[in-house]
């Protein structure tokens, strides 16, 4: 059964093998040269006068941080715990987690290094995976769903992930990956995810089986995440135009207790909005470093 955005007219599309209801009305018209809609970052606030009820059991649509395109950048670390040295934002590292953090040379945060000295896997165009995709320039983000799954299409690097909703169980987390049907399966950048509707407006997902800690970071300040992590995400459809996306990290290898990393409000955008590419290209990265990055990050006199 298709679940989408109820609107006056709909158009069924086959994307990712999923039928989608395509909302064409109800959005203020933004600049749309030749029909190519630009993102609208100046939407009016949702008030009692314009608030519409949330559709039942649907996250389908194009979402972006409600506070504007920069709100999802999280350059200083995960949204709820910016890495700024304040005691309330210090993470509960295990000894191994702290050692791991200190081995990461990040370009952001209180321990930032110059560009020539960093070892962020992002700068080698490695996939960010989950949960870092939630914490790196999260912008126009598309959700598609059918009766089997929820698909999330991230803007950055055109990455997508699947959260299964067909009742399958989360695999068992084991050394080296996860166990499915008695077999060892490999760790994945986006892990293994299952989700369920807690109520008609709240969807919860669990993810395990992510890549080991020498392949991925949690955020742009070099905070770590390991293959022992369990990521719990909650998506609460507050009203038709508003979604609150929360994330809690439970990673006993790196952190002594679970902690909440994100609770971000997203705003529904016109589904016809053209999404400009935003990617990591090794050749463009190399050219950038040659022309700018290496010199900008060097020490000493010109």
């Amino acid at each position: 059964m298709l679940e989408g955005v109820p609107q006056m007219r709909s158009l069924v599309l086959g994307i990712l093998g999923v039928a989608i209801v395509f909302a064409g009305d109800g959005f203020a018209q933004t600049s749309s040269p030749d029909g190519w809609l630009n993102p609208d970052w100046n939407k009016p606030a949702i008030t009692a006068a314009n608030r519409k009820p949330a559709p039942r059991r649907s996250l389908a649509g194009m979402w972006a941080p409600a506070e504007g395109p920069g709100a999802g950048t999280q350059a200083q670390g995960v949204q709820l715990k910016p890495n700024n040295g304040r005691p309330e934002n210090e993470l509960p590292y295990t000894p191994y987690g702290l050692q791991l953090y200190r081995s990461h040379h990040a370009l952001e945060g209180k321990d930032a290094v110059l560009p020539a000295q960093d070892n962020d896997p992002r700068n080698r165009c490695e996939p960010l995976g989950v949960p870092r995709s939630n914490h790196y320039n999260i912008r126009l983000t598309q959700f598609f769903q059918d009766e089997y799954k929820m698909a999330i299409l991230y803007h950055y690097d055109n990455r997508w992930r699947i959260i299964w909703t067909d009742g399958r169980r989360l695999p068992k987390l084991v050394d080296g990956g996860v166990e499915i049907g008695g077999e060892l399966r490999e760790p994945r950048f986006f892990g293994y995810s299952v989700g369920r509707w807690v109520d008609d407006y709240t969807f919860e997902s669990q993810t395990i089986g992510v890549m080991p800690d020498d392949r991925v970071w949690l955020d742009s300040t070099g905070r770590p995440i390991s293959e022992k992590a369990r990521i719990t995400e909650t998506f609460r459809r507050v009203d038709y135009d508003t979604l609150v996306w929360s994330e809690t990290i439970d990673d006993p290898k790196v952190y002594t207790r679970p902690w909440e990393a994100m609770r971000m409000t997203f705003r529904l955008h016109d589904p016809r909005t053209d999404v400009q590419e935003y990617y990591c290209s090794p050749s463009e990265q190399e050219n950038y470093n040659k022309l700018f990055g290496a010199d900008a990050g060097s020490k000493g006199a010109p």
């Binding site: 100046n42 930032a112 803007h155 400009q276 935003y278 700018f292 010199d295 020490k299």
Partner: protein
């Protein structure tokens, strides 16, 4: 190469760019709060990831020509602020306000620009919605 009149001025001002909005690399390389106004001739405008790069030739008061390279964020980030693939073309006379790097090299990030046709653009970053032009 056509004649050009170039004025370089440096002023220390309050923060124009909120550091948390700078995505690809940190503020560690920048002399945060310093502002340099460059009037020069466009040699190249690269509209690509991870950052757009504008190369300018700028003549100082001593007559020396200095080649500056200044950066903006990725195309999708600077697009809402009005930066396009053809915003700058070879030979354009433009004025660009930048935050320079700390190490003294002629490098910086774009805080504002006035294009050859007089269009004024804001910071080439995500912060366009909250920033005030200098």
């Amino acid at each position: 190469m056509r004649a050009r009149r170039v004025i370089v001025s440096i002023a220390t001002v309050g923060l124009l760019v909120q550091a948390p909005l700078i995505a690809h690399h940190g503020a560690a390389a920048y002399d945060v709060g310093k502002k340099v106004v460059l009037k020069g001739t466009v040699k190249e405008w690269i509209y690509s990831n991870p950052h757009c790069l504008l190369t300018l030739e700028v003549k100082g008061e001593d007559g020396q020509v200095v080649r500056w390279i200044v950066e903006g964020q990725a195309p999708n980030v600077v697009f809402p602020a009005g930066y396009r693939k053809d915003t700058f073309t070879f030979g354009d006379e433009v004025t660009v306000t930048v935050e320079p790097v700390k190490n003294g090299r002629p490098l910086g990030r774009i805080l504002a620009a006035v294009t050859a046709d007089g269009q004024t653009l804001g910071a080439a970053s995500s912060g366009f919605t909250t920033q005030t032009l200098p």
